[in-house]
């Protein structure tokens, strides 16, 4: 069914950042061993972690979601499935509202889902429609999944999307563990070639000048695609223009170090934790871990220091042994 794999769809993100290498697992291990041997100072093979964010372009793209506009029509789910060759029924089947009875997460065959939040103050009522929240890969500014990836299968493209190259993936699923939004899914049911599956911000469409599928189909223009800095400006302008309508916060501006997907809401974001907008510190976890890691390994200081200590101990103990 999936005629086009992630790697085929996003040739730029993978191959431009790295020299072409043998992409078989054995080849990877060989290359890894050689490179590890050659690399001075224990520099990580996957060097495009959180520090790779410094490569982000000024005009990197994102999507602004105005939750006050979303009516829960779920057309974005359908368009996403259609654009990514995931199984989907007729468009009218999106009218089924029973799916909102439970909270859903993205699956291997559906990269975005819409969840509903009832107003905790009152019973469900026609005058009190729920908040509908579309969730998918947030395309972090400093993506922990990229940082955690041992082999560089996850990449943060300078223009925004976090892309995945199945041909490099070794299936360790560290990225799944690292993702603070719990958005990554893994094809456990595929025997030989399981892949991580996630939204790639429709890189295959945007490279052709199209809008992301979900943005294009949204009938109320609740989703808007544009440069992240423009979207942030627009979001703050909207809050300033309608302070009674929005809570004064743009989710994703700083959460987890910032995300490409930005959310505006009428109700406090604390109420949207369950449906997929968790409270996160302003700094990406990847920033902290990489900071520690890079401090230790900078200029090979750590390994050389340890080697020096061990060598010293060795000589000391040898002399001592003879003495």
């Amino acid at each position: 069914m999936n005629a086009r794999t992630s790697s085929q769809r996003t040739p730029k993100s993978g191959s431009d950042a790295h020299p072409p290498i043998d992409t078989s697992r054995r080849g990877f291990l060989k290359a890894g061993a050689v490179l590890t041997a050659l690399t001075v100072g224990g520099k990580s093979l996957a060097s495009d972690g959180a520090d790779g964010a410094s490569k982000l372009s000024q005009g990197r793209m994102g999507v602004l979601v105005d939750l006050t506009r979303c009516v829960g029509c779920r057309r974005c789910e359908w368009a996403c499935n259609d654009a990514n060759d995931n199984p989907h029924g007729k468009l009218e089947e999106c009218d089924d509202q029973s799916v909102f009875a439970s909270l859903r997460r993205p699956r291997t065959d559906q990269f975005c889902v819409v969840n509903a939040t009832r107003n905790p103050k009152a019973d469900p009522s026609p005058t009190d429609p729920p908040i509908f929240t579309k969730i998918q890969c947030m395309h972090c500014e400093y993506p922990p999944c990229v940082s955690a990836c041992l082999v560089g299968a996850m990449q943060k493209s300078p223009d925004g999307p976090v892309t995945y190259d199945a041909s490099k993936c070794i299936g360790c699923r560290y990225c799944m563990m690292a993702c603070p939004f719990e958005r990554l899914t893994y094809e456990y049911d595929r025997r030989f070639t399981p892949r991580i599956r996630k939204c790639e911000l429709c890189s295959h469409r945007t490279h052709d000048g199209k809008l992301p599928a979900c943005v294009e189909i949204c009938p109320v223009e609740a989703l808007q695609y544009g440069k992240r800095e423009d979207l942030l400006r627009v979001a703050h302008e909207r809050i300033a223009a309608h302070p009674d309508k929005y809570v004064d916060h743009v989710y994703g501006e700083s959460e987890g170090g910032g995300t490409s997907w930005l959310y505006l809401s009428a109700r406090p974001f604390e109420q949207l934790v369950d449906v997929g907008l968790p409270r996160l510190p302003d700094k990406s976890p990847a920033e902290r871990t990489e900071h520690i890691q890079h401090a230790i390994f900078k200029g090979a200081a750590g390994p050389l220091g340890i080697a020096a200590i061990l060598t010293t101990l060795h000589f000391l103990t040898r002399k001592g042994g003879h003495a």
């Binding site: 009218e92 005058t127 627009v234 302008e237």
Partner: protein
């Protein structure tokens, strides 16, 4: 005068007077609004929309009027004609505008405008509700007609609401909603102006909170605190108990404003309110005095109202002592037309009235 100059002066005068001379925009002119607008400029997965413009105009009379949708309508609009009222498609482009902010594309504008009500009232997100799809409302004009007027849930309210206010001495305010709407004849919009339709048409889970400053004070500005505030919940308004004036059968069907001036009745006395009905003799007005329990027969038939009701207040008990020597000691006995004597026979000798 130079004809050119005169023309210029006329033009100038005409322009300066025009904004004041024109009456405010009147949406009720049925000849000026389209009945149905076909919304078919947006290409998409669904059929076009047959928008019943007239129904929505009627509903918009509650508040907002044309500006609910035609939000660019200037304040000094002179008519419901173009170019003051422009259709959506003249400003909003058919192409999607999902990339930049500002003016939504036509599709987004339509959906956001329509769904702001249709979503809240009915949770009816199904596209076929508006779009012409076979087997749906718009694809079936007969069904649409039957649904007319029944789509929004009834606006229901409690008979009364009890509020605990910040007033330290007498914190409780009992607001008798039913009295205000049914007995006092206050229209919904007089208090709820600006509330969206779905705040009342729908579940009673959340009522719109009406601002006291804006609404109660419109009528109660001159009243003392105790007019509304009390130590405990207060029963509904009883005209007899509160004013000492029984609304006897003849007046039971009247609304407050029939006798009281609007917005003044809580404090102002009745001023000439009886005259429209009671100015002339009862008989000439078709008023049957026997309905009060006293048939005006014999000499009584020739009395003016003020001959008996000297206080000028027709509801006041008649003063009979002008003719009759004594008053009944245990109050009037209402007897109707059977000529039963209900005063004693002692008649004031100065009086010529020897009836009964």
């Amino acid at each position: 005068m130079n004809p050119m100059l005169a023309t210029l002066v006329l033009l100038f005068v005409g322009q300066t007077q025009a904004p004041n001379a024109q009456p405010p925009i009147n949406i009720t002119r049925p000849d000026k609004i389209p009945d149905v607008v076909m919304l078919d400029q947006v290409p998409g997965c669904y059929g076009s929309v047959r928008f019943d413009h007239r129904i929505h105009v009627e509903m918009s009379g509650m508040h907002g009027e044309c500006r609910n949708c035609h939000h660019e309508l200037p304040e000094n609009a002179k008519s419901v004609d173009k170019p003051d009222v422009r259709p959506c498609r003249e400003c909003h482009e058919p192409a999607s505008n999902a990339t930049i902010d500002g003016k939504p594309g036509l599709r987004g504008a339509y959906h956001r405008q329509c769904l702001s009500c249709h979503r809240d009232w009915t949770h009816e997100n199904a596209c076929g509700f508006c779009h012409i799809v076979s087997g749906t409302i718009r694809g079936n004009p007969g069904l649409a007609q039957r649904l007319r007027g029944n789509l929004q849930p009834r606006a229901e309210a409690n008979a009364s609401y009890v509020y605990t206010t910040a007033h330290k001495g007498i914190p409780t305010v009992t607001f008798h909603h039913k009295d205000h709407t049914e007995r006092f004849g206050i229209k919904c919009v007089e208090c709820h102006a600006g509330d969206s339709c779905n705040q009342c048409h729908g579940s009673m889970a959340e009522r719109p909170v009406v601002s006291r400053q804006q609404t109660c004070y419109n009528c109660h500005a001159q009243d003392r605190c105790v007019t509304c505030h009390d130590l405990r919940e207060r029963p509904a308004f009883d005209h007899a108990k509160r004013t000492g004036w029984w609304l006897r059968p003849g007046h039971a069907s009247l609304t407050c404003n029939d006798c009281h001036k609007p917005n003044e009745f809580p404090t102002k006395p009745v001023t000439g309110a009886c005259l429209p009905c009671h100015a002339k003799r009862w008989g000439e007005q078709g008023f049957d005095h026997s309905r009060t329990g006293v048939a005006l027969e014999g000499d009584h038939a020739y009395f003016e109202c003020l001959d008996c009701h000297r206080g000028g207040n027709e509801q006041m008990l008649a003063d009979c002592t002008k003719c009759h020597a004594t008053r009944p000691v245990d109050g009037p006995r209402h007897v109707g037309r059977d000529n039963t004597t209900w005063w004693d026979d002692r008649v004031n000798p100065e009086s010529t009235s020897t009836d009964h």
